[in-house]
């Protein structure tokens, strides 16, 4: 692997290589050239031939056809800085295509890479952040983390009506209705209501009361459906034992 690039370049002229990308990354690379993100304010300029380029922006998982072109482009660059930036999950380690027979899976298996920009595709801001590192404008923010947490898992606190099994049931039920993003805060909210109530009737009233106070009709629907479900589940559980 090549060493780190010199900290400051006045202006880096880049050549963009599409080494069998799905075009997602290529569009984001073009995006950073638009007036909105405007990477040219740092002197980064897209050039039409590798012979003028200081840096390569490579996207894609490098399949067997693309590797020929990629090598030729690399050799055509002037020998001095020869910076390579791998843009996207595919260029870093093969991304979603990593176990395909047709791909090499990673630019660094062919040519040395100086900066890795993760994302699928990376946001234009993420590409700006990567190029900013090349130019010495910003420092990297990520570092490896290897954790050894203890042997005890954190237990959730439940009130009289609830237990872990019912919590899981409610969680899967909500996932089916609202997906994982909205599930999390609705679940927290419902758990608070459940833990603060002592009887099933009280719980039922509280959830319906909460639902009627919500503005969003979709949320109101979800609260009343989930409330009905959990009341039924608690009744079943207390009846069985």
């Amino acid at each position: 692997m090549g060493g780190r690039p010199r900290p400051r370049f006045r202006s880096v002229w880049v050549f963009h290589v599409d080494a069998s990308a799905c075009n997602g990354c290529d569009i984001e690379v073009l995006d950073v050239l638009t007036p909105f993100y405007d990477v040219e304010r740092f002197g980064v300029k897209l050039v039409p031939t590798p012979r003028q380029a200081d840096a390569l922006l490579v996207s894609g998982s490098v399949n067997r056809q693309a590797v020929i072109g990629l090598k030729r482009v690399y050799e055509a660059m002037p020998p001095k800085p020869r910076i390579v930036a791998a843009v996207g999950a595919c260029a870093i380690a093969g991304g979603i295509f990593y176990d395909s027979l047709a791909v090499y899976g990673g630019v660094d298996k062919i040519i040395p890479v100086h900066i890795y920009i993760p994302g699928c595709p990376p946001r234009p801001e993420a590409i700006l952040f990567g190029l900013g590192q090349l130019l010495g404008l910003v420092n990297k923010k990520i570092e490896p983390r290897i954790l050894y947490p203890g042997r005890r898992v954190l237990d959730r606190k439940y009130g009289v009506l609830f237990n872990e099994r019912l919590y899981k049931d409610l969680r899967y039920y909500l996932t089916r209705y609202v997906g994982y993003y909205d599930r999390d805060y609705i679940l927290d909210d419902l758990l608070e209501i459940i833990n603060s109530s002592r009887t099933v009737e009280e719980l039922r009233e509280k959830i319906m009361d909460k639902a009627s106070r919500l503005k969003d009709p979709r949320l109101r629907e979800v609260y009343s459906i989930a409330g009905g479900y959990i009341v039924e589940k608690i009744r079943e559980e207390t009846g069985a034992v």
């Binding site: 780190r4 900066i115 801001e125 954790l147 947490p149 034992v241």
Partner: protein
């Protein structure tokens, strides 16, 4: 003309971004992170991850289950978030992950494996998984619960042995000593 130039600085749309910090939107699917206090090491996220950015390895020698995320391959789909039974893994909205070294893109959680209460070897599940299974037993009828508790702390081999031993001891025979029925 002067008026025109006065107005232009309001029309500047270009980001200041790498020079100024940027607050990404809350819903942005960025770097996935495992909450080390909640993860039980079940490996559901590793099963669900389409590009196998998350892997689960079991190290029987040291006694650890390793849940390892390699951000370089992650496509930020959020399926790990969806399947995690404990709500341990969440996609944060951090996107500033560009780095000159691939080794920076690793996040690893090591969880201790359970040791079998009969033979003392490491099992293929973690201490935390057993703990969570135990908490799930609340509210189950007592006889059924005892039956489960007897086997919960054993490894797979011991469980099989104990089960067949019990079955042999409890088998019913007729007056000539022949097994009259299947033992269970």
């Amino acid at each position: 003309m002067a008026k025109y130039f006065e107005k232009t600085d309001k029309w500047v749309v270009t980001f200041k971004y790498p020079l100024e910090p940027l607050e990404p939107p809350r819903e942005l699917r960025g770097k996935p992170e495992i909450n080390p206090d909640l993860c039980i090491g079940c490996g559901a996220c590793a099963e669900a991850c389409p590009p196998n950015a998350i892997t689960k390895e079991i190290d029987y020698r040291e006694g650890y289950a390793k849940i390892k995320i390699f951000y370089g391959r992650c496509i930020y789909c959020g399926r790990c978030w969806e399947v995690c039974p404990e709500g341990a893994i969440v996609l944060t909205n951090i996107f500033e992950m560009a780095t000159p070294s691939k080794d920076d893109l690793i996040y690893e959680v090591n969880l201790e494996l359970h040791t079998c209460s009969r033979c003392g070897r490491y099992t293929e599940f973690t201490e935390r998984q057993v703990h969570r299974a135990y908490t799930l037993l609340t509210g189950i009828p007592r006889e059924r619960r005892k039956e489960l508790l007897d086997r919960m702390f054993l490894c797979r081999d011991c469980r099989r042995q104990v089960f067949s031993h019990d079955a042999l001891r409890n088998r019913r025979t007729d007056k000539y000593g022949r097994a009259s029925q299947t033992p269970f």
